[in-house]
């Protein structure tokens, strides 16, 4: 199969960096935001931001695939 395009892979890397690799930077209690300890706030924020990144990736991936497999 054709591999995914670089821009969509880069967009997908953003949530991985934010929610996984950068954990030492945000795993703390303070500042408390919206009543939540910072680590919980940060993860909840990225649950909401991840679909935005993936929507971008979707824009990159879809036109090409529709060209390859026109809807029947």
């Amino acid at each position: 199969m054709k591999p995914p395009r670089i821009p969509s892979l880069l967009l997908a890397l953003i949530p991985f960096i934010a929610m996984c690799f950068s954990v030492p930077l945000w795993d703390r209690i303070y500042p408390i935001v919206l009543g939540l300890p910072f680590n919980m706030f940060w993860l909840t924020l990225w649950i909401v931001l991840t679909p935005l990144c993936m929507w971008g990736a979707y824009r990159f991936e879809t036109p090409r695939h529709e060209k390859d497999n026109p809807p029947t």
């Binding site: 591999p3 949530p15 929610m19 996984c20 795993d27 408390i32 009543g35 993936m54 991936e61 879809t62």
Partner: protein
Amino acid sequence: MSPGAMALGVILAIVAAGSAIGFYAGARRKMDLEQWTVAGRGFGMLLMWLLMAGEVYTTFSFLGASGWAYSRGAPTLYILAYITLAYVVSFFILPPIWELGRRHQLQTQSDFFAWRYRSKYLVAAVSLVGIGFMIPYLELQITGFGIIVEVASFDAIGRVPAMLAAVILLAGFVLASGLRAVAWVSVLKDLLMLVAAVSVGIGIPYTYFGGIGPMFNALIQAKPSHFVMPGATANLGHGWYISTVLLTALGIYMWPHSFGAAFSAKSAGTLRRNAVVMPLYTLSLTLMLFVGFAAILVIPGLRDGDLSLLAMVRKTFPPWFLGVIGGAGALTAMVPAAILILSSATVFAKNLFRPLFAPGMNDHQVGKVARLMVVVISAIALYLAIHGSSSLVSLLLLGYAGITQLFPGVVLGLFWKHVSMAGIFAGLAFGVTSMAVLFVTHHDPFLGLSAGFLGLCANFAIAITISLLTPPITDAQWDTL
């Protein structure tokens, strides 16, 4: 009416309604193997959403997540990250898998390995790994169901009879209706689960603390170390977090049932759009964690953290509402359990038994063996659930450590021409053996990293090295992929 009878009555009504939907969904169709396993490949966005949510949001998210919030603290946050990131991974791997499934009539994960690597021994190994590690996941669901009935009946009904009843019911509706049943029961399950998450996750902090902010204030005053990693544990620090999130996010669609669910989509676009929006559903898990945290101050000293959510609900709400939450929980155990039983039975019959022992069997006979296996697998999981004592999260992590070893074979098989059967076989064998040794000798986490993740790294390294040393497939073969 005693509170236990009231709560149980409501749970029973909900389970009965769910089962009726399940039986009805399958009743009007002729159940050949294609219809039973991939529902004729006709699921659109909505049913696909329900099926995927049905699989991912299991009794583990219901009881296990809050259980770890209660007993371990901050390490439980890995759950929010891995489920969200799993959808990111699915965006890239499910559409090509679906595409291949449509072109080559693949119905199971093992079919994919059979078609890509052309070796019945590799397929047998993949099927064994798949079935073997689905069993702890199934055990988890059955244990969860037992906990729910036990707590909701105010301990009048023991865990064992409850688990027995659940298993009989499950095997019944899997046999009758196949995958379509499961997707439709998810309608009721997801609706109730959202009601449960919102009412409990917001209601409980308000009842006891006057809000979510005040609750965390009180908790941070009382137990500050609980809220940064490693929380209440000795060794679940940042290294563990990163390695576990990677292991489980890459592994989620390696579960044979989740992998197989991709084949039931109507189009690749359906899967891609689902992957974009599904992370939002993870917000309901944040709410579940609140309940586990609230329980730390309200009901300290529980012997089993997995009881914390239901014990809180029982303490806070009237019995009928405990019944609603218990019913939601019971369905979140039954829906995934049904899918697990269905896939492991199909994989056994189609990809393990037929190629090795009875190559002459037709699809109809395979269907019969699969139905027999539904009973056998249910019985094994029930036996383990009765005799096991692991926490729900530990069972889940054991399952992931094993199942993610299939990832190199899938992702390299999809996108890398040079990958060879020998490389994948050797990597899988080493990955599974090494993680099993580390688990059995109680070395998970090892050097601060998840044992399954270490196995996965070795697995990748071996698969790639051996593949580079063996001849690749020809261009003509690659072009047919």
